[in-house]
């Protein structure tokens, strides 16, 4: 298991739906490891 699991999309991807309207795909959650921070034992 990686210490950091980041969803495949990064930042804000812009893609279009069937009608050509721009959709804003936000990355709303991001997992980090409680053990994956530098500066602790």
């Amino acid at each position: 298991m990686d210490e950091t699991t980041v969803a495949a999309e990064t930042e804000t991807d812009l893609s279009t739906d069937a009608t050509g309207t721009l959709l804003d795909e936000e990355l709303l959650v991001e997992e980090i490891s409680i053990d994956g921070m530098c500066g602790v034992y």
Binding site: M1, D2, E3, T4, T10, E11, T12, E26, L27, E30, I32, S33, I34, D35, G36, M37, C38, G39, V40, Y41
Partner: protein, 379 residues
């Protein structure tokens, strides 16, 4: 939305987790001890003061703390503080050499929830380990692990400081951890505390750094690193798992045994002291308003590393590593994989290397930068 890492670099209103060294007392005298531990400081926080800190951490909603020292189990109120912390909703991981984990203690620990244990070990055999941690310390650690396993503690951690002499044992460390159902953690040696004396002999060579990087990429699933090897990311295209940033003063910090607050456990020096939990406003005020932490939460300059294409990957490395070998903080990491650290170290002289501030070593093992390093002889 800003990248998460950029937001974390700007600091949070409370730490995510932190290290708390409960005592400078220790039954061991490891040559590389980051806190130069050995003798208890008479100014140690009292039980009541420690509980007040835990109350503050509860109010700040710190979910998890890493307790260490010295040897934290030496404190008479160790279990009292463990239970108080967990009772206040703060999970605990404590780091220990295992000397005080007997069968009865192991059972007591196994009965506790929201508790992680990390046993320190620096070699997969007594010769390698004891050269750094002292005669008998390998046996002590293994005995503690056996007690934890027999008591049904569940998954504990084995924490290894990677040195020139144990880097070839990474596979064996993994096998040892697997044999106990434990999780392996490998971390970077910093020239901090007594580590300043032994760093030049113990730190991995350039070739060994690549060995560590390659090993982590190939076998590092379920191996923790405390995000301490992000300076190696400049070696390749694939970054190591982790935030890959310095958390000091931003998302983590250290509370030392006398209540002083430092940016991280690897910079116990006035230069990185943010304040004291004994100051008016306690820990919360130090975390939120100290000048040092405000400074660390400003965007950092790449300095001498600005023209290097690897800066995004390595972030210029570790403050503690630079500081204690006398390299300016906007200079390269002494173990820069691009080789830029070597020239910087040559330029660093005795006058730029900081003098140690606090030394709780036992007599005969004082850490001074000019002293010929003592290594415990191998058999």
């Amino acid at each position: 939305m800003t990248a998460l890492v950029e937001q974390l670099k700007a600091g949070l209103d409370a730490p995510i987790c932190l290290t708390w060294e409960l005592t400078y007392a220790c039954n061991l005298e490891c040559v590389h001890c980051l806190s130069s531990s050995g003798r208890r400081d008479p100014r140690e926080l009292s039980t009541d003061e420690a509980k007040a800190v835990l109350d503050e951490l509860h109010d700040l909603q710190v979910f998890y703390i890493n307790i260490g020292g010295g040897e934290p189990m030496i404190r008479r109120d160790f279990f009292e503080l463990l239970e108080y912390s967990i009772g206040r909703g703060i999970g605990v991981k404590f780091s220990t050499n295992g000397a005080f984990i007997d069968a009865e203690k192991a059972r007591r620990l196994a009965a506790m929830d929201y508790l992680d244990i990390q046993i320190s070990l620096d070699g997969t055999d007594a010769v390698t380990n004891d050269a750094v941690r002292g005669e008998g310390s390998y046996d002590t650690a293994i005995r503690a692990m056996n007690h934890l396993r027999d008591a049904g503690f569940g998954e504990f951690k084995i924490s290894v400081v990677v040195t020139r002499h144990n880097v070839d044992q990474l596979d064996e460390f993994k096998a040892l951890a697997d044999s106990f159902g434990a999780q392996l953690r490998i971390t970077r040696l910093r020239p901090s505390g007594r580590g300043a004396d032994s760093w030049h002999e113990l730190h991995p060579t350039n070739a060994q750094q690549r060995q560590i990087y390659d090993w982590l990429l190939a076998h590092g699933d379920n191996v923790l690193t405390g995000d301490s090897f992000f300076h190696l990311n400049a070696l390749g295209e694939e970054p190591l798992p982790g935030l890959n940033m310095c958390g000091a003063g931003r998302v983590v910090c250290l509370i030392d045994p006398i209540g002083d607050v430092y940016a991280c456990p690897f910079v116990i020096h006035d230069e990185f002291k943010a304040g004291s939990v004994r100051d008016a406003g306690g820990f919360a005020r130090v975390w939120k308003h100290s000048d040092l932490f405000a400074e660390l939460r400003e965007p950092q300059s790449a300095g001498a590393c600005a023209s290097c294409g690897s800066y995004d990957a390595c972030q210029g490395g570790c403050m503690a590593a630079k500081f204690f070998v006398g390299i300016p903080l906007d200079g390269p990491d002494p173990e820069c994989v691009g080789g830029h650290g070597e020239a910087a170290m040559l330029a660093a002289s005795a006058s730029t290397k900081p003098r140690p501030m606090m030394d709780h070593s036992k007599p005969g093992r004082v850490a001074t930068p000019d002293r010929v390093p003592v290594t415990i002889g191998r058999r």
